[in-house]
Amino acid sequence: MTSLSRKLFRDLWLMRGQALAIAIVIASGIATFVMSVSTLDALQSTRTQVYTDYRFADIFTSLKRAPQQVIKRIEAIPGVREVESRVVAEVRMEVESFPDPVIGRLVSIPDHGESKMNALYMRQGHKPKANKQEVLLSEPFANAHQLKPGDAITAIINGSRQKLRVSGVALSPEYIYSLSPGAMFPDNQRYGILWMNRKMLATAYDMDGAFNDVVLKLMDNAQATDVIERLDRILARYGGVGAYQRKDQQSHHFLSQEFRGLETMATLFPAIFLGVAAFLLNVVVTRLVNTQREQIAVLKAFGYSNSTVGLHYLQLVLLITSVGVVAGLFVGRRLGQGLGNIYMEFFHFPYLDYRLATSTILLAFLISFSAAIIGTLHAVYRAAKLPPAEAMRLEPPVRYQESLLERSGVKRYLSQPSRMILRHISRKPLKTCFTILGIAMAGAIMMLGKFQGDSIDYMLHVQYDLAQREDLTVSFTEPTSRRAEYELARLPGVQYTESFRHVPIRIRFKHYQRRTILQAFDNSTALHRILDSHLQPFDLPKQGIVLNDYLAKLLNVSIGDRVIVEVLSGRRPTLELEVMNTVGEMIGIPAYMHMDSLNRLLGEGEAINGVFLAVDQQYQDTIYRQLQNRPRVAGITITDAAVQSAHDTMGETILIFTFVNTLLAAGIAFGVIYNSVRIAYSERSRELASLRVLGFSHSEIAYILLGELALLTLIAIPIGFVIGVQICSIIATEMDSDLYRIPLIIESGSYTFSATVVLVSAILSSLIIWQRLKQLDLVAVLKTRE
């Protein structure tokens, strides 16, 4: 080891506290980076692999019923590689010892051989045998009810109760994330996917020689939109509801949405952490070079070159950085695996291909080194360039002046120690600003964890307490007359009913278009209400259409514009409607119309798709049983269960996210605060010791040092709030999608939490410095020149 490297390690040892604090900040940044990037990598590569291996389809559509020959015409569409027809049906199910209504989606699989597309990954058991009443269960559903091959479940298939034996448990690329229709969060107890042999299912639903669902695989150079247009044209007369691409497929769409969130995390957080680390390194190395001027001079006087000296300090920087990166890699890998496992609870991949890619490791080093070098370039360059003769001389005395605040006239109220604080802070305004910014950043990050929880709570509150106030939603297999509502209203325990009509539509304005659901209600808004942007319920106009404001944004329409609405069911009329208003809802992108107006335009008479119910809790189970026996009931949604599943889903992810965030932000807070006060301590230990000699007590000199810290911290906390709100708003905007919009809701708890963590970090750093001040060597300072 050369003497210079020995010096390197000893210097590092002497400044170990500060070096550690910086390394912690770097480690925090790299940990978030590695966690998000590696998880994203794992999820993306797994998805790609699963899509390829299990031949995930490119185009999806469902229809009412078409004869099998139509497939030939679909196959003839230019660009289509393969077509597979299916029979798909939503059924009510009964699972032993689970009283709530359960909905199953039965999907046909070929009687013989593999599916051409959306092939299944068999987790347990075997595929259903021909001519046997057997089904495959999706793994999440099987797990939720602890069902295994050999168990039995009951499904109400086309009105008749049938016992089905579970032959196996499987996963499909089509249902990596599965939601029941209209739900926002998965509920694996009340909704599951089942696969059944085609023949069996077709017979039950009168689909022999016919199909009601079709999936396509395209050629590489095919234009998806062209294919969809032709496909829709072919299927229009068979009740096609409009085809969509993979990007609009529910499971795929959710995955992509989640990936986008991870991408934001992978860029935003490391950027903040490494920015802070670069600043800390800058401060520490600048200080180090200043204190080592004489050493630099001696080294140069003895013939060390500029580059050797520069490199020496650069090595120090890179060594600290490396410690941080390596620690960050380890922690990030663990967090990544943890996060991957959490995702696996919601995303049902057959496996997760988690590994820390070499490229991620290299990138972690690259960005950290770049940040470190950028942060210290100036200081290192100064050390390298310092002429030996000048370095031998003392640093010129520090010039102070009265601070702005004092000049404004408050000076006479300030004690000398208070003046010292103000002047020290204002002497290097840039450094002071960065210190405040660093502390503020830590506070800002701290606000994120709770923000997500608060926002989702708010979203759920708006959705389920203010808008959807029904206890149960009953949907029918097909449009039904109003009589159905009156029948339900007469069930014992039903207190109130409201009916609704849902039709799938494609809505267009200029060249923009979207598929969504048009929901129609009467203006009896006791249960289900439409809320304006002030969350006040309002009446649907008797004419025209009301759009969700995000839908309006996607279509670029304003109130008063006329949009084209293609109804994708029934007689499939195309309507031109005036946009009467917009609705500030946060979930989905529905459009609304008054029931009378929709029925009039559809020309199908007074039809409804379902009923909202308010029920007496005592009668709930009886009502479920009554509903189960009604053949036209397709599904029953329990509002409370939906809220519960939302909480369950979000609860876990957000808790983990908050925990990780808190840990990391506490790392930043401590790193910045400790370094700031530690440097102030070493810069000022001489004058503090002088004051001790002049008769100042320990707490009086501590005031000068810690008072400065307190002032900076107190300034930083509200700035942290402001930045925190900004970052939350960026995240909320980044996460915006047609699935949901995260409202910017920051409860007082977030502010308290952020301030508390910053204050605790400040107090902890203060305690360390308080102890150090006790050991201040009073005699030594009198004998030395600075």
């Binding site: 102070y400 120690p417 003046r419 010292m420 000699v693 008769g695 320990h698 005699v779």
Partner: protein, 236 residues
């Protein structure tokens, strides 16, 4: 001939542990300092003069021995009592001034008067060292001699019982040093503050009432100057 004893030090020994060897800084020093007198402690580097001054100033504690000030033994004082002692009773002047760079001359004095009992005003103190016109300058804007005079003003503003000066001219050239010594002599004369100046510069001894020679941690000799020479006439 002197009336009142300000300090009474008896049997002061100070041993520093340097690695595995013990270094004797003081080896049994007995010393009295009297009211109004100006004493010069003269000795080579390592003779123990700074250690002695630090002990008298309450900055350091002897290994054995006692220092009686105003009836109390400083050696037995608590940290808090030592702080109070430095705060109210002792004025310090250091070789490198040790001014607070962020405070002006006046504020450097005020930093002490704000915590003292019955101090003079910073203006009065600075007037005594002829620096009234440089009051609002920051240390970086003052020459070495001026800085040291500010340090003296700061030390005497609390009207200390004793003024301890550790190589006050050590960092100054001869002519500037003389101006600083004049200030010390004038304060000793006008305020009657007991003043102890430690130096290795034998020339300065001529301005003292008594000269205490220290060597190898012991008092080698004590000379009584029959005739004090005014600092203006000194040079080195």
């Amino acid at each position: 001939m002197q009336t009142k004893t300000v300090f009474q030090a008896r049997g002061l020994t100070k041993i520093y542990q340097v690695g595995e060897t013990e270094v004797y800084a003081l080896r049994g020093v007995d010393l009295d300092l009297y009211q109004d007198e100006l004493v010069v402690l003269l000795g080579a580097s390592g003779s123990g003069k700074s250690t002695l001054l630090n002990i008298l100033g309450g900055l350091d504690i002897p290994t054995t021995g006692q220092v009686i000030y105003d009836g109390n033994d400083l050696v037995k004082a608590t940290e808090r009592q030592l702080t109070d002692y430095r705060r109210y009773h002792v004025g310090f002047v250091f070789q490198f001034y040790n001014l607070i760079p962020s405070l002006t001359a006046k504020e450097n004095v005020a930093v002490v008067t704000e915590i003292a009992r019955d101090p003079m005003t910073p203006e009065q103190a600075l007037e005594m060292v002829h620096l009234a016109n440089r009051m609002d300058h920051f240390p970086a804007q003052l020459s070495g001699g001026e800085q040291q005079r500010v340090a003296i003003a700061r030390a005497i503003a609390k009207r200390p019982a004793v003024l301890l000066c550790d190589e006050p001219t050590g960092a100054l050239d001869s002519s500037t040093g003389v101006v600083v010594l004049e200030a010390l002599a004038r304060i000793n004369r006008e305020l009657g503050t007991t003043t102890a100046v430690i130096t290795h510069n034998a020339v300065i001894a001529a301005m003292a009432d008594r000269v205490i020679h220290l060597s190898d941690g012991r008092i080698a000799s004590i000379d009584q100057n029959t005739e004090k020479i005014a600092p203006q006439r000194l040079s080195w």
